[in-house]
Amino acid sequence: MKPGTIVAAALLIILAALPLLTQAFDQRYLLSVGTRIVIWSIAAVSLNMILGYGGLVSFGHAAFFGIGGYAVGILSAEGIQSGWVQWPVALGASILWAALVGALSLRTRGVYFIMITLAFAQLVYYLASGLAGYGGDDGLNISRSRFSGLIDLRDKATFYWLCFALLCATLWFCGRLANSRFGYVLRGAKSNELRMMALGFPVFRYRLVACIIAGAFGGLAGILLANEGAYVSPAMMSWVKSGDLIVIVVLGGIGTLFGPLYGAIAFFALEEMLKPLLDLVHKGWGEYWQIVFGPLLVLVALYARGGMASLLKARG
């Protein structure tokens, strides 16, 4: 087996066993971090679909956090607690939004695409900030989705396993898709759009479908995020979050299946660990962890081309 496969498999096994491990070592907080990592990974994997395979850099992917989250939140505030209603509505809203944004944005290329997707995300952001009836900028405290006794999302371990299972499903689906005819067309269009068009592929339609799929999984991550914190707010779709998602994907390795997962783990683990580590070096330094984190990202960009996933490849 290739080292990349071994690491990925080991990682998945550790992640699958995380609730048991954290319980055994009495590290409840690690499970909370793990839950966030898994949810963000779903969003990052979906972003990687269009960004990594399609070459379409969306700077508005966090909008799907918001759309998925707010669909759950608003329904919950209106007294509809059933996940059987909330989740399909949230996914449907994400798909609709993705189709609309995709249809309009795909006319542009490169940096113009980056900025037009940002513009649409900002529209949703300010829309949510203006929803005075649903907390506006303060956000909305909600109760978690109910699945008529089937599973209880309030239980941390159960919720984690659900997120993990959905991550696995996302990975499986995106992996299959990337290596299908669809994936090859998408990748082909990334390296040479004209050639693919000359070959008779309706590139625009392929890309639109990719945007819609990515949007649906992004919305799924939003649903989970809303249930994780039992809270939704416009901040979950600020442009900074879209930026974080891009950073995670690039950090992990664009256009690789497991890269986004590595990226999310590194991103959150560094955030959790740099502070205490620096405090160990010198009490009080931990607060300035970003002065280390920033240059670290610069170094990754400069010297680890292809992100963390490429490190595994290089060793093998």
Binding site: P3, I6, V7, A10, F25, Q27, R28, Y29, L30, S32, V33, R36, S129, A132, G135, G136, D137, D138, G139, N141, G229, A230, Y231, S233, A235, M236, V240, A269, E272, M273, P276, L277, L280, E287, Q290, L311, L312, R315
Partner: protein, 392 residues
């Protein structure tokens, strides 16, 4: 790469596992505030006051050592929630305090007060939801509810006879609350109402030009932190300071005054605490703070100091035995401590019943900018939401 993974695991073990293990005989308090980014000065002011409170307590409560863990919310609700989660689940603190921003507090409330069953003392943010329907037996406030301060200002404007007013604030939840608050009590003529972009508007020329054209007798603003600096400067630069007086809440304080300087002289604001309130504990607090940091403390700091003292009163009363949460809550509710604002009493929703004062921006004898009390706007005020709270 396997060795790399092993290395990462080792680092993780160091970071998560080998953190200083809290001794059982200490009282652990988590303090969440903003320590990085543009609003870090507020967090710093709160931290200085917490440190001063610890000094005044001799580092002990109820015979136990006090351990404080500061966490930075980066001015983002999700980060604040994650940090609060860490305090409760990993550091296993007995109390959580701090919180400048309503949205950070709302995001963290469930994690700390419900799922963590940990007592939370809000030292600044006071959204109406938590005063009303979201009130929580584990939540105590040493600040106010958002509406109260501007309501006090509105009352004062009535007694002063300001006949017409133009109100301006940022277009986000607290901004809307503040303007709604002043409109609720102010009885004069409202000449105009503007909401500006938040948090990225740096220019207020359009609004100031409109105010100049509307010719009101007063402007009411709410711009916390750096935005207050910008608005006050531009108001003075536009020449409006000569014709239209400025009335403010949370926009001119010890943190912003070094930057606003003389431009802010003579402006009036409402506040539940002022640095010259005549009680012994306040005199000591302000004097010691000034001696240490060569600047005045702000209300953010005073509220944080009170939060620590409130916690200390409960811990003292129980002689450090925090095992029974019901007893801790009961002791907290008595508010048996010497608040910097003098009398301090909790309403049923565990928000304070308190006075609000009118303060004027002046220069002290040493030439340092500060505020001084000139009137009491309202006495023993209750927030307008406590009846919605299910706790009686």
């Amino acid at each position: 790469m396997k060795s790399g993974l092993f290395g990462a695991a080792t680092i993780a073990a160091v970071a998560f596992g080998l953190q200083p293990v809290w001794a059982q005989d200490s009282v652990k308090i988590g303090f969440v505030s903003t320590f990085s980014g543009p609003q870090a000065a507020i967090g710093e002011d709160m931290r200085r006051s917490v440190e001063l409170a610890l000094e005044h307590l001799g580092g002990k409560m109820g015979g136990k050592k006090i351990e404080i863990v500061y966490e930075d919310d980066q001015f983002k609700p999700d980060v604040g929630k994650a940090r609060s989660e860490k305090l409760v689940q990993q550091d296993k603190v007995n109390f959580v305090s701090g919180y400048i921003w309503s949205n950070v507090l709302l995001a963290s409330l469930k994690t700390v007060a419900d799922e963590g069953d940990t007592i939370l003392v809000g030292a600044n943010a006071g959204p109406s939801q938590i005063a009303g329907e979201l009130c929580n037996k584990n939540f105590f406030s040493t600040s106010w509810n958002n509406d109260q301060t501007p309501m006090a200002m509105g009352e004062y404007l009535n007694t002063k006879g300001v006949k017409s007013l133009y109100v301006v604030g940022p277009n986000y939840a607290a901004g809307k609350d503040m303007l709604a608050g002043v409109k609720r009590t102010y009885k004069g003529k409202l000449m105009g109402e503007d909401y500006t972009k938040w948090p990225d508007q740096l220019d207020f020329s359009a609004e100031l030009t409109k105010i100049g054209a509307a010719k009101p007798e007063g402007i009411f603003i709410f711009y916390p932190g750096a935005h207050g600096v910008q608005f006050v400067k531009q108001w003075a630069q536009s020449g409006l300071n000569k014709t239209v007086p400025l009335y403010q809440v949370f926009s001119i304080d010890a943190i912003t005054l070094p930057q606003q300087g003389e431009l802010a002289l003579g402006t009036l604001g409402a506040q539940e605490w002022v640095n010259d309130l005549p009680n012994d504990q306040n005199k000591r607090y302000v004097a010691d703070f000034k001696k240490k940091h060569n600047t005045y403390p702000s209300y953010y700091g005073a509220q944080s100091y009170d939060a620590i003292m409130l916690i200390a009163s409960a811990v003292e009363a129980l002689k450090g035995d925090l095992g029974n949460k019901d007893k801790v809550r009961a002791e907290m509710k008595k508010a048996n401590f010497k608040s910097l604002r003098g009398d301090f009493k909790f309403n049923t929703n565990q928000f304070p019943i308190q006075n609000f004062y009118i303060q004027e921006t002046v220069k002290d004898p040493q030439g340092m900018m500060t505020v001084k009390t000139i009137a009491t706007a309202v006495t023993a005020a209750k927030d307008p939401y406590y009846e919605k709270c299910s706790m009686k």
